[in-house]
Symmetry: none
Subunit: 62 residues, 2 copies
DNA sequence: TTCCATTCGGGTAATTGGGGGA
DNA sequence: GATGTCCCAATTACCCGAATGG
């Protein structure tokens, strides 16, 4: 998966994704020219949202 | 979407949006750096919930 | 081979996160 | 109980020119 795709999915700058790879926060593969490729699974793990309990259930909220 | 955008849209302080995410009142994903991204749909839900005259679920707001 | 879009690298400004207090 | 504003540190976004990939 390309840096631009990951950036678009997480609403960040492609440069930020590159920084994550540089700091080892996300696994990445390097092309012979130095460009990066990211495993789709790792990217999917990042966009896992915390699902809050905010349904019509007042008793649960209190 | 970004915390600042949500804050501007709901006309609250970005810190308040952060607190909502922290208390689980709005779903959010975290970047590896710790910043938050909010699903547009969830923001719209909050926007509807804070609407002065069009609350779909008044009991949900409490 | 040339073509264009994207990514590379570094540097700087703006935003965000967390804690504490009004 | 919830929100807005203060601090500082960290993260992120946009600028440039040059190189890579298909």
């Amino acid at each position: 998966m390309l840096p631009g795709e990951v950036a678009a999915l997480l609403r960040v700058d492609p440069k930020t994704v590159t920084r994550w790879a540089a700091t080892g926060r996300i696994p990445s593969i390097r092309t012979p020219g130095g460009h990066r490729r990211f495993p789709r699974a790792a990217v999917m793990g990042l966009l896992t949202a915390t699902a809050p309990d905010n349904p019509p259930n007042p008793e649960n909220s209190r």
